[in-house]
């Protein structure tokens, strides 16, 4: 029997759970735990410069690997600084365990120094949270946290630990809990076979089918099954912003992304489809546009591990609750065995129609209305230079949409962005989280001059841990996405969307010990990127000046159907 203090139990549990890195920032309530971490060498702690960055690093680790990322933050301001990152993970269903320090139990409720009701504050943005009432609970509570975070629909779990639960002199029996069972939480392990049969029936009889794959396919590691199914049936595939990479972006059957800034062919195909197989997309407002006009002729099959995601925004004709890997396996089996004679003629006509839509816009953008480089060109060059094989971690804004549209992801888990919450400041810490765990891979942060400044202090963390990632700053000298909406809806009154007094980014990154480069002309773009990526052991910040007046297109017309889009500043569907 082994006796450990609560603080040692935390460190020891994490080691026993196989956790390699935790991301955090110390403070009073955590001093015992930090001392325990100091006295072991299995779990390595990464010291960020702001707790938000710790959560995004852990989140990125989880997105890249599928395993929960672990965060350690102190009570009060440390905990509240982490909330944005927790909410970011929650909205995108990312497994994460956040350990927050808390003031001593007897002080709780007295407005003690650095007291904050973390369980209360995070309740609406976590899958679950709990607070430790006695030190013996620590191993099981942490086991539960990992289990809940990583099973079913994944999500963040907060474990709040009052300081007196970790007192070094008070020791308790420690046994690593190998497993955990909760009577009130039993995620489904397979879909209803009757429902799956119905879905396959619709699938093989469809004349104008679309397969829509969302983030759920990534969480379930089901891209292979998705790809096999789509190829076997020769059906078009659409990937949501969260699902990019689940189906090869360079494949002719791939139509791009649906929704607000989706491709013409994706939005048109969905609108006119007679059958949509929705795999793990929650069909939020950025996809559906006006729900009452959503896909008027389609039968909707919706597969999701979370029943509450089904028929939340649009009613499903065939709901299937289950993990996408096993459900897709069953769909594949039944589709292969199906004796239904498929209507090849209808499918050929459907493809003809889709190709026509593709030709109509096909991701073209104007280059003749400005002397300046276009942001789209930057992403295209980046894709070329990295051979479409980099981990791309994006911030939020126009550059994010351009990255989603023009970087062709052929593998899942390569595209990391805050799709649900839309958190500016996500990109750099996310890229750090990936680079730390995949040092041999090319990792890029695609950002804007606005977003990067939300967590730019992390350049210091990059220096400390030698994280030679690349930052491509698509610099339009404005909060471009805000400006775009102001152009479209407020007669170009650019209220607070202009970034005045930008820093000299090159000097700034140099001050942190990194390399800065600038690009102002298209001719220099590719060669500069090549040069930057050739510097394998350096973080390089590439500041690319682009046309500040460019808009992201296509753009859905508000309150209309999916097919109603602006294709440029002057053309509409």
């Amino acid at each position: 029997m082994e006796l450990l203090s609560g603080a040692d139990m935390v460190a020891r549990f994490l080691a026993d759970e196989g956790v390699e890195y935790i991301y955090g920032y110390p403070g009073g309530a955590l001093l015992h735990i930090y001392d325990a971490l100091f006295q072991q060498d299995k779990v390595q702690h990464i010291l960020v410069r702001h707790e938000q960055a710790a959560t995004h690093m852990a989140d990125a680790y989880a997105r890249a690997t599928g395993k929960p990322g672990v965060v350690l933050v102190t009570s009060g301001p440390g905990a509240t600084n982490a909330v944005t990152g927790i909410a970011t993970a929650y909205m995108d269903s990312i497994p994460m365990v956040v350990i927050s320090g808390q003031v001593m139990s007897h002080l709780i409720g007295e407005d003690a120094f650095q007291e904050c009701d973390m369980v209360g504050v995070t309740r609406p943005v976590v899958k679950h949270n709990m607070s430790i009432k006695s030190p013996e609970e620590i191993p099981m509570a942490l086991k539960k946290a990992f289990y809940i975070a990583s099973t079913g629909r994944p999500g963040p779990v907060v474990v709040d630990i009052p300081k007196d639960m970790t007192t070094p002199t008070e020791r308790y029996e420690y046994v690593y809990p190998e497993s955990v069972k909760l009577r009130s939480y039993n995620p489904v392990t397979r879909g209803h076979s009757g429902q799956i049969k119905k879905a396959v029936e619709l699938l093989v009889n469809a004349k104008r089918p679309v397969i829509l794959a969302g983030g759920g396919v990534i969480h379930a590691n089901a891209s292979e099954q998705l790809t096999e199914l789509a190829r076997m049936l020769n059906y078009p595939v659409v990937n949501t912003l969260m699902g990019l990479g689940t189906y090869p972006g360079t494949d002719p059957q791939f139509l791009g992304m649906p929704g607000m800034h989706g491709s013409v062919e994706a939005n048109m195909a969905m609108h006119h489809a007679d059958m949509i197989l929705n795999l793990g997309s929650r069909l939020d407002d950025r996809i559906t546009n006006a729900t009452e006009k959503f896909c008027p002729t389609a039968k909707l099959v919706h597969v999701d591990i979370d029943p509450s995601s089904i028929s939340k925004t649009v009613a499903a004709d065939v709901p299937i609750v289950g993990p996408l890997d096993s459900v897709l396996n069953e769909i594949l089996k039944l589709a292969k065995a199906s004796e239904v004679e498929r209507d090849e003629e209808a499918l050929a006509t459907w493809w003809q129609q889709i190709e026509e839509w593709r030709r109509r816009h096909g991701g073209r953008y104007r280059t003749d209305d400005s002397e300046l480089m276009k942001p789209q060109q930057v992403v295209e060059a980046l894709c070329k230079v990295t051979k479409g094989d980099a981990y791309v971690c994006s911030d939020v804004g126009q550059h994010q949409m351009f990255a989603a549209q023009y970087y062709k992801f052929n593998k899942p888990r390569r595209w990391l962005n805050s799709g649900g919450l839309g958190t500016m400041g996500y990109g750099l810490p996310a890229a750090m989280g990936v680079k730390l765990n995949f040092p041999d891979e090319e990792v890029v942060c695609v950002t804007g001059e606005g977003s990067i400044q939300m967590n730019i202090q992390e350049l210091s963390t990059c220096a400390q841990y030698n994280l030679p990632l690349k930052i491509v700053c698509i610099n339009n000298q404005s909060l471009g996405m805000v400006r775009q909406w102001q152009d479209l809806n407020y007669e170009s009154r650019h209220s607070q969307s202009y970034m005045e007094s930008l820093p000299d980014f090159t000097k700034l990154v140099e001050a942190y010990g990194h390399v800065g480069m600038e690009v102002t002309r298209l001719e220099e773009l590719e060669s500069t990127l090549e040069k930057a990526f050739a510097m394998k052991d350096k973080l390089v910040f590439i500041n690319v000046y682009v046309d500040p007046y460019e808009h992201v297109y296509p753009m859905q017309v508000p309150k209309a159907s999916m097919r109603d889009m602006w294709l440029s500043k002057t053309e509409r569907t």
Partner: protein
């Protein structure tokens, strides 16, 4: 439509606030809520009434089910059920009013549980509509104070909500 949802959940600190938080977070309506431990002290039973169309009720039950502490739940209004609410009501009772109040208490099968020279305190149980009717009968000017427990309910017949 009005629904009565009965929830069996872990009797743990914070579970109740999770349920209540869910309703405000997701903009669900909550009319009444009662909660107490069951015969198994590790479980508590929560009954809530809410109003919404089918889609909203479906979301409410799904979202409740998603809460980790929720073990099971049932929408009692989907089947035959019994619903009861308890009310304590203080009524002005002066002169000829005193007999009148007693008559109404008898008609509604209530009980006078406290008496002063000018006030009766009446206890009444029944479904919400019956309690509403009683208040109506007494007349708003005579009613001094009303306390209602909120609805609790149980399915008729053999059906049980248990582990």
């Amino acid at each position: 439509m009005r629904h009565i949802i009965s929830v069996l959940m872990e009797n743990e600190a914070g579970a109740l606030s999770r349920v209540v938080g869910l309703f405000s977070q997701r903009n669900f309506n909550i009319e009444s809520l009662t909660v107490a431990p069951t015969e198994d002290p590790t479980l508590s039973r929560l009954t809530l009434t809410t109003i919404g169309h089918d889609g909203v009720i479906e979301q409410i039950t799904k979202q409740l089910n998603k809460l980790i502490e929720v073990v099971k739940l049932v929408d009692l209004t989907e089947g035959d059920h019994i619903e009861r609410e308890l009310m304590l009501i203080k009524v002005k009772a002066l002169g000829s009013q005193r007999a009148e109040v007693i008559r109404n208490v008898d008609i509604f099968r209530g009980q006078v549980v406290d008496v002063t020279s000018s006030v009766y305190t009446v206890q009444l149980t029944g479904d919400s509509a019956k309690l509403d009717a009683f208040i109506e009968v007494l007349g708003p000017t005579n009613v001094l104070e009303v306390v209602r427990t909120g609805v609790s309910g149980i399915a008729r017949g053999e059906k049980v909500l248990s582990l």
